[in-house]
Amino acid sequence: MKLVVVSAGLSVPSSTRLLADRLAAAVGRRTDDVVVQVVELRELAVEIAQNFTNGFPGRALAAAIDAVTGADGLIVVTPVFSASYSGLFKSFFDVIDKDALAGTPVLIAATGGTARHSMVLDHALRPLFSHLKAVVVPTGVYAASEDWGAAGLDGRIERAAGELAGLMNGLSAAKPVGNDDLEVVPFAEQLAALRATG
């Protein structure tokens, strides 16, 4: 099983990455033979911007996109910026094909300075991944600064990780097999479709 972790933290070390690692470890404990790959968006920031200006991804970004779209499960973690996911986080998912995450189990998580933004999980991240047709686990994990010194975060991590692990094991058979070939509608069908509606 391939678990890919997308972290949009910007500082080094970052609490976003710390939360991502705790989530990944918790999923790992529940899944046999899981291979974890972490995608740090900070390292891809320039290539993501250039993807917008050029229309194609650079080599490191292409590799990250391949990893994310080929994953059996995703953990995505963003810091809260201006009451939402960070622009970098959104930009990464903007350059991924809109159907590439269809059916992929996703655990959403976010970090922030205060607990006041915790609804960002359900007001911003969940709709984004619903649009991408991913399967978002019921429990999202939000960690404010204060949570790192309080009881409760562990429990939420464990519950969310259990949900993701369950979906990864259960949905792996349902996810469409990745196909790298370009697909075509036979031309006669394309012509016939126009005649039928014309």
């Binding site: 911007a49 194609f56 370009l182 031309f187 394309q190």
Partner: protein, 362 residues
């Protein structure tokens, strides 16, 4: 193999002087570039078609007709003709007229256009882009091949007893290329008809171009026009040359850095590493262009983009001198070497006419 140039027709300020050419200057420059292409021994000049500033070529057959009158051998083509928003009846008429005036030195490349508002400006819906390309082209083919056409479709008013005039020269319609960067449907369309497929690879990594060309080749064979290796493929190229590569980089960098489309993005070095752009010596251009064959197979037409981003006319004409004197003669020789005998050249009016006569006799 055919070598030529294709122009977008952009009016762009020269970033080194800040001066923007007038539309008249740019139009005349495009003509001068086309005439120079013939003078230095290139085979093809293709003009873009655009209907918004900062571009001038809204009326390709007017320009190509003028160039036809002043050239002898040059093949006049487009890059691209908007099959989505032009009336296919007008395309049939305009290009048949050009064929007669140019004694058959005409082909054209179909494209959908990538400027959203052009569709509504011409009464169309961009969401129907592929369907417009499919239906309009199907009609265009009939207009060139049938003297009297009765037709009804989804997008234009029906035709009853319509004859497109003038009829194609010698009864042979112009050869058609289909240009597409990422739509498999268009590669499929080109394959279905046995037409040419042009991949404008200039801003794209090689693996993407390879996938699109491979798809076209497989489908060309599927439809029984020949083997996959015999499919008719064209590619773009994007070069700036000086005798010493350092001089080329130094002179081109200010144009690259602010160029439309790719400016303000990756560095010149990153871009030349990942795309077909070559900024350097004629030898470097030769090496990079020859490498296209490694992933696209033996192909039929190579068009270079040399006149964009505000480069002055004098500089562009110098590029053409180098292409004609140093680059293309070597490319002709090297591409011919190792090319299987059964891989055809790009069709021309003469070759299509000969094939039609042979078919009539048979």
């Amino acid at each position: 193999m055919q070598f030529g140039i294709f122009s977008v027709g952009d009016v762009t300020p020269d970033p080194t002087t800040g001066r923007t050419p007038t539309e008249r200057e740019r139009i005349k420059a495009m003509v001068a570039i086309a005439l120079k292409a013939e003078e230095v021994g290139l085979d093809v000049f293709a003009t873009g078609e655009h209907h918004n500033p900062p571009f001038v070529p809204s009326s390709p057959t007017t320009m190509l007709g003028y160039v036809a009158a002043r050239t002898e051998k040059l093949i006049l083509s487009t890059s691209t003709t908007l099959i989505t928003t032009n009336d296919p009846v007008k395309i049939a008429e305009d290009f048949a007229m050009l064929q007669h005036l140019a004694d058959g030195r005409v082909d054209l490349m179909m494209g959908r256009g990538n400027t959203g508002p052009v569709y509504p400006w011409f009464g169309q819906d961009i969401r129907q882009g592929i369907n417009l390309a499919v239906e309009n082209y199907a009609l265009l083919r009939r207009l060139w091949r049938e003297d009297v056409v009765d037709w009804e479709g989804k997008f234009r008013t029906p035709l009853q007893g319509f004859t497109s005039t003038p009829r194609p020269l010698d009864g042979v319609p112009p050869f058609v290329w289909h240009g597409s960067i990422r739509s498999p449907e268009i590669a499929e369309q080109a394959a279905y008809y046995g037409d040419g497929f042009f991949h404008n690879n200039i801003f794209w990594p090689a693996d993407h171009t390879k996938r699109m060309v491979d798809l076209y080749r497989q489908r060309y064979a599927h439809y029984g026009h020949g083997t996959a290796e015999q499919a008719v493929v064209g590619l773009g190229g994007h070069v700036f040359m000086r005798r010493n590569s350092q001089d080329a980089v130094r002179e081109f960098r200010p144009y690259f850095d602010v160029a439309p489309v790719y400016g303000h993005g990756p560095s010149l070095e990153e871009f030349t590493d990942q795309t077909p752009l070559t900024v350097g010596s004629p030898q470097q251009v030769i090496e990079k262009t020859l490498a296209f064959r490694d992933y696209a197979g033996d192909y039929q037409r190579q068009l270079f983009l040399i006149d964009h981003a505000g480069l002055p006319l004098k500089t562009v004409l110098e590029q053409l001198d180098m292409l004609g004197e140093e680059v293309v003669p070597v490319l002709r020789k090297e591409f011919a070497a190792g090319r299987p005998a059964d891989v055809p050249e790009a069709p021309t009016h003469q070759s299509l006419l000969a094939a039609a006569k042979k078919e009539t006799v048979a």
